[in-house]
Structures are given as structure tokens and as C-alpha cells.
Symmetry: D2
Subunit: 268 residues, 4 copies
């Protein structure tokens, strides 16, 4: 299936204002629309919203969005019917046609192709706030069956493996899978699930990662810095893990590597 | 045609030692092999060589290499036969099967799929020298017929347009075309040709661009700094243009943007 | 005389709102007070204001401020009396006792010791705006008699020479003089004067210099970027020269070197 | 006493070659001379050596060097005689006259004024190796009597307090004292002593701190990274703590703030 890239995440949060104070106020996400109990945000490079926050009674992940092309929409439709997966068509702001699916592992996937474009902000540097969040990069998912999920996402959804770890008995422990040409759009980590480990946004460079840590420290929010700044062995990326006010984990991430070669050997 | 990305460039240089003193000694390219009159170099992220320097009587561009997948090799073969383009099969170090073609505009293209992998150096930071050249990014070609070349590279070779400029009468003046998911693998600039304007390598971040300028200045080679450091309006990338000892122009380049979306509107 | 460092500059500007839009809005200076026709600004590291803008009929430099210690105030007083220089005592916001002097070369110097401290902002990173202006670094003055001015500032005012250039006949062409331990608090450049060539603010690192250029470009103010970003041969600092709305030249500057050694040989 | 700045440190190391592989090979210190069992190193900004390694039977700190001016040499001489401190005159490479003193707290201080200058390397960027160590910044000393040592270093040696911490009962727990105009040349930390906690070198910017961590990781020496990269609350500096092969702790440090103002209030 011609998935292009991870496209968005929708989270339930308990206090929308508090969440916006974190995502918009501290991290500098652009708030593009607030409507009812939902807010739509994006990074400075994105032409579509990529983060939707909806006020709910408890924190939860409502959607994991993937952008596909037009053919991909048909393939996705065929796939869900063939597999008998629960699904339905939906619309959202600027996204007239979305296919919501519960995948065989329980993850709430949403596929969409067309999207209305927001004005280009990439070079509006005078309007940047915070560390300069650019774009959504990946989702990291807990799964009790990493091996099976990894194989399924490769074979049925067209993802390509870039890195993996194994336990002492040679069983797959974690895997990194991509579509867009860097280390991952989705990763699976061994653990109780289906559950989100974290979602990640791309920053322009390692200095921006340091700046994000400084901003959190300046605002007396070091308790929300979970780990980093540091460099991952896997992916080679610079990172910072933060917890949002509901405990959703967001990673700020930059500087991994190009993975478009079809003969690229996965790194163990 | 399933071109994956720009893969390499081969240059004729008049004095191989002098060229190596520039590329290896100052810019820190990894010299992987020297054999006869040729040297093979790569960046720290690459698993294949991407720059071949061959001693010749005058400076020239010998090959513009594109990596394809296995199917792409067959498509390329079919294309050259169908178009009646001059071509032949070649081999080179670590590249057992290369299809050399003179394209309709006179550019010396080489297509290859399989390549032997060199050891992974990306995380061997203690061995980095110079500003930290990572990987080949793009080729910029002069052409007297930008419009026709752009259309041909889109329609026959599968490139996708990300940015373009027009003259006052609305004629295409320059175009940026990609395969690998950032702003370009190839660009066409209006001018006498077929001729190379420059080739470019990706650096890890803008600080590395500044470091490259410092290194050239330290070595009393400011005369080889042609332009920059600066940020391109087009591509949004940080850049530095250098002239090698033969006058070949190399750009150090970083931080453009993701272009994988099929509905990404080209920027005028 | 125990001058500690350059302390502030006061400029006449033709349109205070336009100037604030530049200094506060784009460059992110902290506006600490607006009163009548004057505005008081500072960088994030400073505990005292360092830039005063006063609306006037034409652009001009009203004061070049130097911080001294208590003994320095007495020494300054003795000096102006001994030399018979025009002078008077003044006060300003948070500076109860300032000695204004017209020095023998015509520069409008102001000496002050005590100053009320503003709240510490250095680590309030969540409140930073713009490239992160930290503190005033130096003044660069045009003078038709660089040699005499340099000698006078060394011998009578206690400045120490770090770098200098000479013309072909060995006459001093430009000089860099410091008190605070980096390359300069004051520089003299050959030219019609007494006149200000530029004043400079210290930024945290070279990335902040690049960010300033990006911000100006984003706001469509590239016409106000006069030169840079680049690295000075003299001082080794990264710099960007900007013109404010009245044509006053401000340099953003970072990363020169330590000059506290009494046996440091001046660089020619 | 007119101490200018911290000037050098001499360490005993068990295996000089192993230590040089760390300091010169990985951290890129410039090795300027090797003679008998000693090696003399410096950072790229320094005109004098600042790190002396001498092979010994066990790891130890042999000297804590402070640069003074000529008057300072006389003041130091008068001080040691007045206090009856054990002392003697010594010479070393490029340092014809050094006064070695055991201070009242047991620290092995060495004062020196004149020093032969080595060639200027600051702008020889093509010769930089490693993260770009610039200059010695400070010494951090364990002391069981922080309060007394701090007062003594202020009153007798002319240091100035910039920051301090207190325990719950208001007793001084740690203090930061400077001469050269940034946060410290010497710090005292509560603990068993007299003993060195760490010595620190200044790097050009936070990216260089990250690069140092990358280099250690690339060389499979993460076990020698003790803490960081991170930003200190105290001093505001970016840092990385490393252990050398003998367990001597070296800090890589950058971006604190200017402290020359006589009325700068110490930060608690």
C-alpha cells in the first residue's frame, strides 16, 4: 500500500487550555484552529495540521494518521474489506475523506489523501516561537507482539525496516519502519499494548533540541523533561523526551539519516 | 523510471594529488580507494562511494550517476533503446553493472542498482575530519532549454518538481526536481550547456557550513570560497559554494525540507 | 582610569515606534520602560538597560556610556577638570549619577558607576524572543586621527590594545581597545568623525547570528542586512551588520577571545 | 593580589601514552612538547601551555597554576612570607619564574607572570581536531571548609564571588569565584579535601559540547562520559563531564556570562 508518511496524531487531553499552554505556549506549535473541544496545530514546515488535541475525560490516543496517495486510498479500502477490519469513512477540518480502521493489533489508524493546504510558514522566521518545531516525524508504538506487527506492517502496509534490536534468544525486540525516507514513520517496541510509547516532531538542528530543554527549564518545567538532550545510538538522531500535561510523551528529534536505497541493509 | 536518488559524480581533474588535498585534506571526504589515475571518495553517511576523481588533461564532468532499483535498470535499458540514445554497459569499483547513456540533452548519465557496501562510518565520530561531509545531495545543470529538459526529466525519468523560477515572460528559468524526498536530486538553470553548474553534498547542520568556511579561511583558501555562508530563498537550505582546484564548483548544503507529499504544490 | 566596560548607547531616532518594531519586535530586545519620548532596552543577560532610544528630529548619537567603579567616578571627575573638558552631572532612569563629558575628539562620553538592577532574565529562556540578544559588546568609532585617539584612550582612559591595522606607510589605520577582557569595548576606524561606525551586541553563539539573518529575511527586511553572516579576521568573531530604520548600524557579534593577559601581544 | 586568571594544571598520570591518546587523540588538545616523562598541551586559543601531564606511580594533582602580572609576583612573594607558607621558586618549559606555594588549605598553587608565547592557532581552523578545545576555564576544588576557603580566596587572593549555594542552615555549601571576568576561575565544593573535583576547558559553543560527546561515543568510550551534555543552573554554562584514563575529571564548558561589574550581585 502506497503510504507516503505519518501524517498526524489526535490525542485526548483532560484540559485543552493547559495542553495548549504546553504545545503552543512553550513548544511554539502553530495553533491553526480551535473549534468546540478541539484544537488543530502544526509545525512551521507543514502545510497541513498534524496534531489535534481534543478535550476528553481521560488522556488517550484517538487516531494515528497516515498520508497516502489517491491510489493508496483505494488500496486501503480494499485491504480493510479483505481483512474484515472495523472501519468507517470520516471527515475532519481540511480533510474531506479519511478512512478510519482498527488494525489487527488494535491501533486506531486513519488514512487520508487530499488535504487543504495552509499558508507556507517555513521561511517566516520572524514568526517562529519556541525551538522551531518543523514537522511530525514518527510514532513509536508498544506492542506485545513486535515480530508479528513488524512483519505485517512490512508485508501488508509496505513499510521498510531500517533498524531492529533482538533479545538474547534472537527474538525481535524493537523495530524501526519507514515510508518517507528517513529512519522511521513507525516503530514497535516490546511492551503492553496496543499503546503509544511516544510521537515525535522534527526540529531543524541539535541547537534547537538544546533550546527546547532551555525553554522547559526556564519555565520551571524540568519535571516534564523525561530524558535527554542526547543522541540515540539507533537512528543517530539527537532527541529530547518530554511529557505533556497529560503524560503523553512527545519526542523532539533531528538529524537521522537517508534510507531511500532499496538495498540499504537494516542495522541490527 | 524508478530512479532512487542521485548517486555519484565523476570528475576529471588535472592534478589528482592537489584535488585530494582539497577534498580529503580540507573537506574531510573519506578516501576509500586509489587506483591508477582514479580516487574514490565518500561522505560519512554513505555506504557507497559517491565522488570519483580521475586525472585527465583538462577538467571535465565524466559521469552523473543515478541509483535505481533492479526494475529501474530494466526500465532504463528499455528507455535508451526506445529513444535510440547512445549507451553502453560498464563496471566500476564495487558497481558491477552500470548503464552509461548520453541523454537527449547531452548529459552523461550513468544508472546503476547494486553496489557493494562499505563499512558504516556514520557514528564513527572520532574519525570525522573537516566539516563532516555526509552524503551527495544533488546536481545542478546548466541548460539552454530548461523548459524542455524539465518536462523530459519529469515525464520520462519520473522526477518531481518542487520549485521553479520564471522570467518576465513566464518562461521557465530554473527548476528543482527530486526523487529522494527533499528539494532536489537535479536542478536545471538557464545557461549555456550541457554543463555542470555545481554538485552538492549534505552537511549535518548549519554550524558545519560555518566550519567549512572557517577551514578554508584557516588554510588561506578564501579565494576558493565563491559565495556564502548563507541561506537560499529557494530550498531554504544553508549553503556554501566552493571552487575546487580545477574550478569545479561544489556546494555544501543542509536543512532543506521534506517533499514526499504527492499533493505538494511546487513553489514558484 | 578604572573603566569597567562599555555600558550603553543612546540614539536619537526619528520614529520611536518604528525603531521599537525593529529592536524589540524583530531583534527581541527587552523593552523595560517607555517614558515620554524615550525607550529603555536591554539584552537578556544584562541587569541594567544598555540601549536608550529617544525620538528626535534627526538620527544622532547622544551618548556613549561607560561603566566605571566608584573610584573611577572620582578619576573621571579629576580628568575632565584637569583637561578642561566640557562636562556636567546628569541622572537617568536607574542611574542616579552620570558624568557627561565631551572628550578631546568630540565623542559624547557618559561615565556612571551605580545602577539599579533589573530582574535577572538570563535563564528565562521561555521569554526569549528573536535571536537572543545578550549584552552590549562594543562601540566602533570613526576618527580622522586614529593614532592620536588610540594613544589617548590607552594612556588617559586605561584601555588596552588587542588588535590593529596599519596603512602601507605604517600609520595606524584602525585599532581595537578593551577593558572587559575580550577584543574590544571601543574601536577606532579611520574616517570622517567624530562619528559612530556601529555599536555591537553579543549573541550566545553563531547559530543565533544565522537566526537573526533568517528573522530579517522572514520579515522581508533583507535590505537592512548590510553584511554577513560571516567571521571577522580581526577579533575572530561571527558577525552580522544591520541597519536600523534610521540607518544606525548595529552589529550582532559573538565568539571572539579572552584578552585578560597583561602580556598578550596585540595582533597586527 | 593581582591574579589574572587560572593558568594551568599539572596532573600525574599512570600511563602517559594512554593519557595522550585521550587528551590529544580524542579531545584534540595540541601537544606542544614531550620531554622525559612530561607532555605539555594547550587549547587552540591559548598562547601558552595549560595542561601538563607527567607520568607518575599514581594519579595526582601536582600544580594548580595561576597567571599574575609582574606586580602580582611580588605580592605573592610577600604573601607567602607573611603567612609563613611553604614555598619555592621553580622554572618550567617557557615559564622562567614560578612561585610554588602550599596554601593554608593544602592546595598546591603555582604563580607565574611571564611566559613564552607559542604561535597563534586560533584561526588555523584547518588544523583543529576533536571538538575544538579553546582554553582552560576553571578549577573546581573539594574542601571541608568551603566558608573559610571562600573568604580567604576573596580577602587574601582577590577573587570575587559570583554564585554560591547554602545548606539548610545557611552555611556556605559551594562557591564560585573569578578573576578573569566570567563565572569562575576557582570553585569550592563541600567535600573531603584538599582535592580536585574537576578542571574545565572552554569550548567555542554548545555544538562543540555535543560533538565531544559524539566523539567519545564513536570511540566506544561512553564509560568515560560521566554526566551531560546539559546546561548548568549555576553559571548557565553548557557542560560535559568526562573521566580521563586515570579518573581525573575534566569538564568541557561553554557559554556562561560576563561578571566584570563591580556591583554584580552574587547569585544564590
Amino acid at each position: 500500500m502506497a503510504i507516503v508518511r505519518v501524517g498526524f496524531i489526535e490525542l485526548w487531553v483532560r484540559d485543552l487550555e493547559k495542553s495548549l499552554e504546553f504545545y503552543e505556549g512553550l513548544l511554539g506549535f502553530r495553533l491553526e484552529r480551535k473549534e468546540g473541544k478541539s484544537a488543530y496545530l502544526r509545525g512551521y514546515e507543514e502545510l497541513e495540521w498534524s496534531l489535534k488535541l481534543t478535550q476528553g475525560d481521560f488522556p488517550a490516543v484517538r487516531s494515528l494518521g497516515f498520508k497516502v496517495d489517491e491510489r493508496g486510498m483505494e488500496e486501503a479500502q480494499a485491504w480493510v474489506e479483505q481483512e474484515g477490519l472495523p472501519h468507517r469513512l470520516e471527515t475532519d477540518w481540511g480533510r474531506p475523506r479519511m478512512l478510519r480502521v482498527q488494525d489487527p493489533f488494535g491501533y486506531p489508524l486513519v488514512f487520508y489523501a487530499g488535504a487543504e493546504k495552509l499558508p507556507r510558514m517555513l521561511q517566516e522566521y520572524h514568526l517562529y516561537r519556541g525551538p522551531g518545531i518543523l514537522r511530525i516525524d514518527h510514532l513509536n508504538l508498544f506492542s506485545p507482539e513486535v515480530e508479528r506487527a513488524t512483519r505485517y506492517y512490512q508485508e501488508r502496509l509496505g513499510f521498510r525496516l531500517t533498524e531492529y534490536t533482538e533479545d538474547e534468544e534472537g527474538r525481535l525486540w524493537a523495530s524501526w519502519l519507514h515510508r518517507k525516507g528517513n529512519v522511521h514513520d513507525v516503530a514497535f517496541t516490546n511492551g503492553e499494548g496496543p499503546r503509544l510509547h511516544h510521537f515525535a516532531y522534527w526540529l531543524p538542528d541539535p541547537m534547537a533540541i538544546l533550546k527546547a530543554a532551555d525553554i522547559l527549564a526556564g519555565a520551571r518545567r524540568t519535571n516534564q523533561i523525561e530524558r535527554g538532550p542526547g543522541r540515540h545510538g539507533i537512528s543517530n538522531a539527537m532527541f529530547l523526551y518530554l511529557k505533556d500535561p497529560d503524560g503523553h510523551r512527545i519526542e523532539l528529534y533531528t538529524s537521522d539519516y537517508l534510507t531511500v536505497d532499496p538495498d540499504l541493509p537494516p542495522v541490527r
